[in-house]
């Protein structure tokens, strides 16, 4: 275990790894700052390029991107009241008010510092729990792994969207789409319709590029949203904000723990974590009257939570292949493309890679904080990029990624088709991540189903862990439906 931990750190501390992680951080800063583009778009664009990299460097690139986005997205949130990504929406409330009072620098100092602290706490949590998870995961067989995959799929479907029934149905649709092509066990042609391209199945990168990449930029371009032209001077007070983070150390620690817990629960993610962090800050403060009017605690709470969330989300992703958040769905896609299967194999044959990821999260959060502190005054200009310039550039990047898959036109057609489908789903409020997760898990579910049925017949349904996981799945589904009902959704 110690050897793997040190090996993981040594993979991180090479020039190529650090360079790629730094590149990922700058990409993440760009996508975090520009309002309207989610962090998922950044990961989607990078996805086709990771196949030609070593797994460690590819994943460090991903970590550089996703660790920094929750740090950088506060830049427009504080300065112009527009969150860079959805996870900064809670920070807008008090952060923007602080900027209006001439305390933007103090807000930035606090946000960056607690982002780094939260991210490191999340990474330390991951490092501490890996030794505990390993024996647990090793005791699971194919029936349990099958049930865990189905649990992840149903949880994401129920919790991550506003329409649980449709979320579950889209998960099932994803499973079907993932079956297109030749069945590896029996050689049956499934829904290939005699088309050579479909014989190999749909390309995962193309599907993800379309569903998330094209759909997101289409939404931004069609709305024609304009970023506010109003920019105020950042002012002094960066160091004051840093001191605030330590002055309110209890809040920082508590919010970080909240973020970790939210991250562990599949399908939720940093958006919810940041709001819970804000609510925690407001509820636990003795003097609440300044919240919403520029209270630095209203910045500390959400920012600590949304950065620590990643460490929590990585735990079920790496241990069981159950994504802790929407970004983790893309991590699973990257693992699949790199030939790495999360779960027992990950924690045995690739344990050093797991530790590389954990160390990478910690380092990326610290470096991201420092970069943002130094470059804020320049980075704010990115908030003013007009959509009419941004949209075609991002589309070009997406198409570049599509053409990288196999240098063939059918992949481009797949991207466009799924882009249209993804846009329709986004407009309808249907959770696209359920579809993508079903697609990614489809071969895994198929394999475990085949092994389970052939090895155990029907007796696998009586195994204790299978029953326990099934009950947890049902409980989460019932909770999800009830929660939608109480929230006044159109359906339970």
């Amino acid at each position: 275990m110690l050897e793997s931990m040190l090996a993981g750190m040594s993979h991180l501390l090479t020039w190529s790894s650090l360079a790629l992680m730094s590149l990922g951080m700058f990409i993440g800063i760009f996508f975090g700052i520009v309002p309207g583009i989610s962090g998922i778009t950044a990961l989607v664009i990078l996805l086709p390029f990771v196949t030609s990299m070593e797994p460690q460097t590819a994943l460090l690139l991903f970590i550089g991107v996703s660790a920094v986005i929750p740090t950088a997205d506060v830049i427009p949130a504080i300065l112009i009241g527009v969150p860079g990504t959805a996870s900064a929406a809670a920070t807008c409330i008090d952060g923007y008010q602080m900027a209006r009072k001439g305390q933007a620098a103090r807000a930035y100092g606090a946000a960056y510092t607690v982002s780094a602290i939260g991210g490191v706490i999340g990474a330390l949590f991951l490092l501490a729990t890996i030794p505990v998870m390993r024996p647990l995961v090793m005791s699971l067989g194919s029936p349990e792994l099958l049930m865990l995959a189905l649990m992840g799929l149903s949880t994401v479907g129920v919790i991550s969207g506003r329409l649980p029934l449709i979320g579950l149905a889209l998960g099932a649709l994803g499973l079907l789409l993932g079956q297109i092509g030749i069945d590896p066990q029996t050689g049956v042609h499934r829904w290939s319709f005699g088309i050579l391209y479909l014989t190999d199945g749909l390309s995962m990168q193309a599907v993800v590029l379309g569903l998330f990449g094209v759909a997101e930029i289409a939404d931004l371009a069609i709305l024609g949203s304009r970023v506010s032209e109003e920019i105020q001077a950042t002012g002094k007070g960066l160091y004051e904000g840093v001191k605030d983070s330590f002055r309110h150390w209890g809040l920082t620690l508590g919010s970080s723990i909240i973020g970790i817990i939210v991250g562990i629960i599949p399908g939720i993610g940093a958006n919810v974590a940041s709001w819970l962090g804000y609510a925690y800050a407001a509820q636990t403060s003795k003097d609440k009257e300044n919240f919403g009017k520029g209270d630095v605690r209203g910045v500390i709470g959400p920012e600590a939570a949304n950065n620590s969330c990643m460490g929590g989300a990585l735990l079920p992703t790496l241990s069981f292949g159950v994504p802790g958040s929407s970004e983790m769905v893309l991590y699973l896609a990257a693992f699949a493309m790199l030939g790495i299967i999360p779960g027992p194999l990950m924690l045995t044959e690739h344990l050093d890679l797991v530790f590389t990821i954990a160390w990478g999260v910690a380092l990326a959060n610290i470096l991201g904080c420092l970069i943002c502190m130094v470059l804020t005054i320049y980075l704010v200009k990115l908030c003013r990029v007009p959509v009419r310039v941004l949209a075609p550039v991002v589309i070009a990047l997406i198409f570049m990624g599509a053409l990288r898959i196999s240098v063939s036109f059918p992949d481009l057609i797949t991207v466009i088709v799924f882009g249209i489908i993804g846009y329709i789903f986004k407009r309808l409020g249907w959770p696209r991540q359920s579809l993508v997760l079903g697609f990614i898990l489809s071969p895994i579910v198929g394999k475990y189903l085949f092994i389970t049925v052939n090895a155990y017949g029907t007796t696998w349904l009586m195994r204790p862990w299978v029953i326990l996981i099934a009950l947890i799945t049902i409980a989460i589904a019932v909770y999800g439906f009830k929660a939608r009902q109480m929230a006044g959704g159109r359906q339970p």
Binding site: A172, L176, I222, A396, F399, F409, L428, G446
Partner: protein, 148 residues
């Protein structure tokens, strides 16, 4: 409503078309399809019931307000398809320049902004990805006709 009906149709098609498969793949396909069909059908029935209560069949889908400029949406995806067609005709690098130039210009950008962005992006792709990283792209129909 149309999207939900389409989803129901997809699941029905999946069930019908996998009847002749071997046991293993058929079990998997039917498990997912029947589950999906059941869930979507329940959702559809609830939507119809909700619409009938409100007395308006043209109800919103998933609680989202459907009103948006459909023309703008179609226009955007026409741009996407046109870009793909340009790639097929002229190759990727030149099409990037052409797409960005025309998109920005026709969305009220100045000639300087549109040409500058287009040229910059094309140069970045050519310089970094084509020359430095040796990526290969689809060669367009027109360059092939011209013997390049």
């Amino acid at each position: 409503m149309i999207a939900v009906v389409a989803l129901v149709a997809v699941f029905c098609f999946a069930i019908a078309s996998s009847r002749s498969w071997a046991m293993g793949p058929r079990l998997y396909a039917w498990s997912a399809s029947i589950l999906g069909l059941g869930l979507t059908s329940i959702f559809l029935i609830r939507q119809i019931q909700a619409a009938q209560k409100k007395g308006d069949i043209t109800t919103t889908e998933g609680g989202m307000i459907v009103k948006r400029k459909v023309g703008t949406e179609i226009q955007f995806f026409v741009w996407i398809v046109a870009f793909a067609a340009a790639i097929w005709l002229f190759g990727f690098e030149f099409s990037v320049f052409l797409f960005i130039l025309s998109y920005v210009r026709l969305h009220h950008g100045s000639w300087l902004l549109s040409a500058g962005t287009g040229i910059s992006m094309a140069l970045i792709i050519w310089g970094i990805f084509t020359k430095l990283l040796n990526f290969t792209w689809i060669s367009g129909l027109v360059p092939r006709w011209m013997g390049f």
